[in-house]
């Protein structure tokens, strides 16, 4: 709001800009344009490289503006690579089920933390917040997963991060912002806590819940490390691996056995990598323009710390 006022004043013809301010304005546009191009170019390069002919690409290390030649062979390999589609299926499962669990748990925790005058609130707030600043570390975490018999099961990826404390704070802030008189009058009408949470608070916090669905969903989509250490690399583990683990094998380890083991797969490994990046990243980048406002809204809610 304040910024809008300022912008209006600035664009009013009466206010004359000094020479220095005009020069700064031009420089500012140049600097931001360069930074924006630098953010965009790597994406562009991956796209054009994925459609290039492999042998041409191998002998041309310089930056590209357009594909070198034209070939969709890399995409044929990617689409015929079963591991990628198994990974895709697994990832979609983890995103959908994992996010549902996340939201359920976050709502329960946020409901308690946003109630006023409940005994134990301070204790549980500290109990939860403390985990943001201190943890047992990687190895005790790993041994704990084995101890709970979750190692090399799908459950581990759904449960080990069933709740994100940071997202919980966002949810609590939203619930605390809802007028008490609404919940109090419902209480007087005999509504229980479950009713208040599902019938009153959830509908009123829809926007924040949408933000958290996106945050949790993207986190599940992009996550690789838990699957890397909590799932085995054996035949059983491979059926459960999310897409990011398959990507690591193809992109980081340059292990092309997944791509049907065809002989010329090694020859066009470079373009296969670029095509794999496109195929795995396109869903999120396609959704992004439509969802951008929700993502940014979440950052702002989170910034106003509870």
């Amino acid at each position: 709001m304040a910024k809008k006022d300022r912008d209006m004043m600035d664009s009013a013809p009466k206010v004359k800009l000094s020479r220095g301010e005009r020069i700064f304005g031009v420089f500012n546009i140049i600097i931001l344009s360069l930074f924006t191009i630098a953010c965009l170019y790597p994406f562009w390069y991956v796209i054009v490289a994925s459609f290039s002919e492999s042998n041409l690409l191998m002998s041309h290390p310089e930056a590209l503006m357009l594909p070198l030649g034209w070939s969709t062979k890399a995409y044929e390999y990617v689409f015929n690579t079963k591991a990628i589609w198994t990974g895709y299926g697994n990832t979609i499962f983890y995103v959908v089920v994992g996010t549902a669990i996340n939201i359920f748990m976050t709502l329960l925790a946020a409901y308690f933390l946003s109630r006023k005058n409940l005994p134990g609130k301070t204790f549980f707030t500290i109990f939860i917040m403390f985990t943001m600043y201190f943890s047992g570390g990687m190895i005790p975490g790993y041994l704990n997963i084995q101890d709970l018999h979750l190692y090399n099961t799908r459950w581990v990826l759904l449960l080990h991060g069933a709740l994100s404390t940071y997202n919980l704070i966002i949810m609590r802030t939203a619930m605390s912002g809802i007028d008490d008189s609404l919940t109090e009058s419902a209480m007087l009408d005999g509504a229980g806590h479950m009713t208040i949470l599902w019938k009153i608070l959830v509908p009123l916090c829809k926007a924040t819940i949408a933000v958290l669905v996106l945050y949790y969903g993207v986190a599940h989509w992009n996550s690789w490390f838990p699957a890397f250490i909590y799932l085995d690399d054996d035949a059983k583990g491979k059926t459960m691996q999310p897409l990011q683990i398959v990507l690591r094998r193809i992109l980081i380890l340059t292990d092309m056995t997944d791509t049907g083991g065809a002989e010329d797969a090694a020859q066009i490994a470079e373009t296969i990598k670029y095509a794999t990046i496109i195929v795995s990243t396109v869903p999120i980048l396609c959704l992004y323009p439509f969802l951008q406002k929700y993502f940014t809204k979440g950052v702002m809610v989170g910034a106003v710390k509870g």
């Binding site: 709001m1 304040a2 910024k3 006022d5 912008d7 664009s11 220095g20 700064f24 304005g25 931001l32 344009s33 924006t36 953010c39 790597p42 994406f43 290390p61 310089e62 930056a63 748990m105 329960l108 925790a109 409901y111 308690f112 109630r115 005058n117 409940l118 005994p119 134990g120 939860i128 985990t131 201190f134 943890s135 047992g136 570390g137 990687m138 190895i139 005790p140 704990n144 101890d147 709970l148 449960l159 069933a162 229980g192 806590h193 993207v218 490390f225 990011q244 990507l247 690591r248 992109l251 980081i252 990598k273 670029y274 980048l285 951008q292 993502f295 940014t296 950052v299 702002m300 989170g302």
Partner: protein, 319 residues
């Protein structure tokens, strides 16, 4: 006065009793809410507090077959081994170097970016800049690292660009000298735009009257920035800074694991990647837990110190 004094302890006792009774009544009346909290408590106990107890194996010679057994107690032996070991100095130096490089360069850039975007007059251009610079945030770590490896590899366009300035070494990741620049620049690419959102939000909530007053005093845009804008977003900057300090020791093991190679361990290996290799690859559970515990404790101390300093000097704090 005298009478009150005599009866005060008795009164307090009665009050305490009724307090407990009242508390208990509230809990019973609201027992549903505590039942709802049960899964949450269970989650934190099983997945956060139980591993914290598991840290105890740092003081034992843990044997996976026997489980936690106090007969295996060795005290501080593993810590001694780590501190006097060959790698301690190198790991600590690498961790701190990487952290401070990321902090020093990576922290101010989102702030500068937000200030620059805020100065734009064209709403449309500002929207475009924001949309595009946020995008890399959504690229997964594996894909980001794959892109970095391609671009700075022997056949990558960044390597080709460097060769314009006389570089002839091939793959930049094989050369320890470029490790920190590669790490920091890719961090900026991925995080600067997204990191600026929080400052842009703070900037839009500045009262426009402050600017009007500054203008009446004859302040130009630059002076307005120094005397109005920056002081107004300072609390946000400090909160963000404390949170970043909390990540100093825990910095980027996911990214390091995906990018480094044995050839550059002397500059790229950090405490958390060492914990991964010693613990999960070499199966030295107790030793690696001790190393990890050292890391967590230093990190926790850093957050507390940063928070206290900030509380004393600026009255802004996390808690």
């Amino acid at each position: 006065m005298g009478k009150d004094k005599v009866s005060a302890p008795a009164k307090a006792q009665v009050r305490r009793k009724t307090d407990w009774a009242r508390t208990w009544k509230i809990i019973r009346k609201n027992k549903a809410v505590y039942f709802m909290l049960l899964p949450v408590i269970l989650y934190y106990v099983l997945f956060h507090y139980k591993p914290m107890y598991g840290v105890i194996i740092a003081f034992m010679d843990y044997n996976p077959r026997r489980g936690i057994d106090f007969n295996d107690w060795v005290g501080l032996q593993h810590f001694k081994d780590f501190f006097t070991g060959y790698y301690f100095g190198r790991l600590l130096a690498n961790t701190l170097k990487l952290s401070f490089a990321t902090l020093l360069i990576g922290f101010p850039i989102p702030i500068i970016l937000a200030l620059l975007i805020n100065e734009l007059r064209s709403k449309k251009f500002s929207k475009i800049v924001q949309s595009i610079t946020y995008m890399p945030h959504f690229v997964s770590m594996v894909v980001l690292c794959a892109m970095v490896r391609q671009f700075v590899g022997g056949n990558g366009f960044i390597t080709a660009f460097m060769s314009l300035f006389g570089y002839e070494g091939g793959n930049l990741l094989a050369n320890g000298k470029y490790w920190i620049p590669i790490y920091v620049v890719s961090n900026i690419w991925q995080g600067a735009g997204w990191g600026s959102i929080v400052y842009l939000a703070a900037l839009t909530s500045i009262d426009s009257q402050l600017y009007d007053a500054a203008k009446v005093d004859g302040a130009n845009r630059w002076k307005q920035t120094i005397h109005v804008t920056i002081p107004s977003i300072l609390p946000t900057i400090i909160i963000m800074l404390i949170m970043r300090v909390g990540q100093i020791m825990g910095i980027g093991y996911e990214k390091t694991l995906l990018l480094y190679n044995e050839g550059i361990y002397d500059v790229a290996d950090i405490i958390s990647t060492y914990v991964y290799r010693m613990g999960l690859l070499n199966r030295q559970f107790s030793f690696s837990t001790a190393v990890g515990l050292f890391n967590s404790v230093v990190n926790f101390a850093l957050v507390i110190i940063a928070n206290q300093i900030s509380k004393k000097t600026t009255e802004t704090s996390l808690w």
